[in-house]
Amino acid sequence: MTLQHYLVISAILFTLGIFAVLTRRNAISILMGIELILNSCNLNFAAFSRFVTPPEDISGQIIAIFGIVLAAAEAAVFLAIILAIYREFGSIRPNEVDTLKG
């Protein structure tokens, strides 16, 4: 169990998250992709905290906790927006919400 194990897992999660964000046509799926990305980040923080910094320094973990909090906030706002958009457009497919189209 080296640092690289964790980093690879994290990279996989990150990539999958990116993939979801890029390909999904459903806003909630995109949100789930984002959650994956955030998790991969948190995992990275925790891993670096464990392996790179001295063991008694756990700043990385605290940052990860902040990350989780931010994720929670983000999810709440995201879902609220989705609800609002859904009411407005009757759809949550991002490609149908294109009022900003030039």
Partner: protein, 172 residues
């Protein structure tokens, strides 16, 4: 590295995380995807345990699984009206997205493999003291007090904002 139970469990968690994450992005049924995400989150929590971040693991389970995931399910239900909403994916987009993701992944792998500072960092298995008390000390009586307060305000604002956005317009 010898193949102990601990290693085995680690790989198990790792596999569980990666596999369920793969399901999250591939499964067509959005409810299934959500449940897969739950598994992924659990897996990550398990990994935190391996990293001896007990408080983080607990937070992960409580906040993510208990909070965010439920929120997502709520979102699914309120927007679709039915639980089995199909996810529609276009082929071209799939290919392009896959290509970019894959490229990114390859890039990350090379970085991970080639960064010298990250090589040979092996978990020696020494048990560290529980982190909860330390985290509490650091957050409430240490350098992280201000960020903590800022984050709490942010959370509050986000919650109020979310409530404001999602409520039905009364006037208009």
């Amino acid at each position: 590295m010898e193949f102990t139970l601990k290693t085995f469990i680690f790989y198990g968690f790792a596999l569980m995380t990666v596999a369920s994450a793969l399901l999250v992005v591939t499964v067509r049924n959005i409810v299934h995807a959500a449940f897969s995400l739950m598994v992924t989150l659990f897996g990550v929590a398990g990994l935190y345990v391996f990293l001896q971040a007990d408080f983080l693991a607990a937070t992960q389970v409580i906040v993510y699984v208990g909070g965010i995931l439920v929120l997502i399910l709520f979102g699914v239900m309120m927007t679709s009206g039915r639980l089995e909403m199909r996810i529609h994916i276009e082929r071209g987009q799939l290919l392009l997205g896959g290509a970019v993701a894959l490229a990114l992944f390859m890039l990350l792998l090379t970085v991970i493999a080639n960064t010298p500072a990250w090589k040979n960092r092996i978990d020696d298995g020494t048990a560290l003291p529980p982190t909860t008390e330390k985290i509490g000390e650091l957050i409430l009586n240490g350098p992280f007090l201000l960020p903590f307060e800022v984050v709490s305000v942010l959370l509050l604002v986000a919650l109020i904002g979310a409530a404001l956005i999602s409520r039905k317009e009364v006037r208009d």
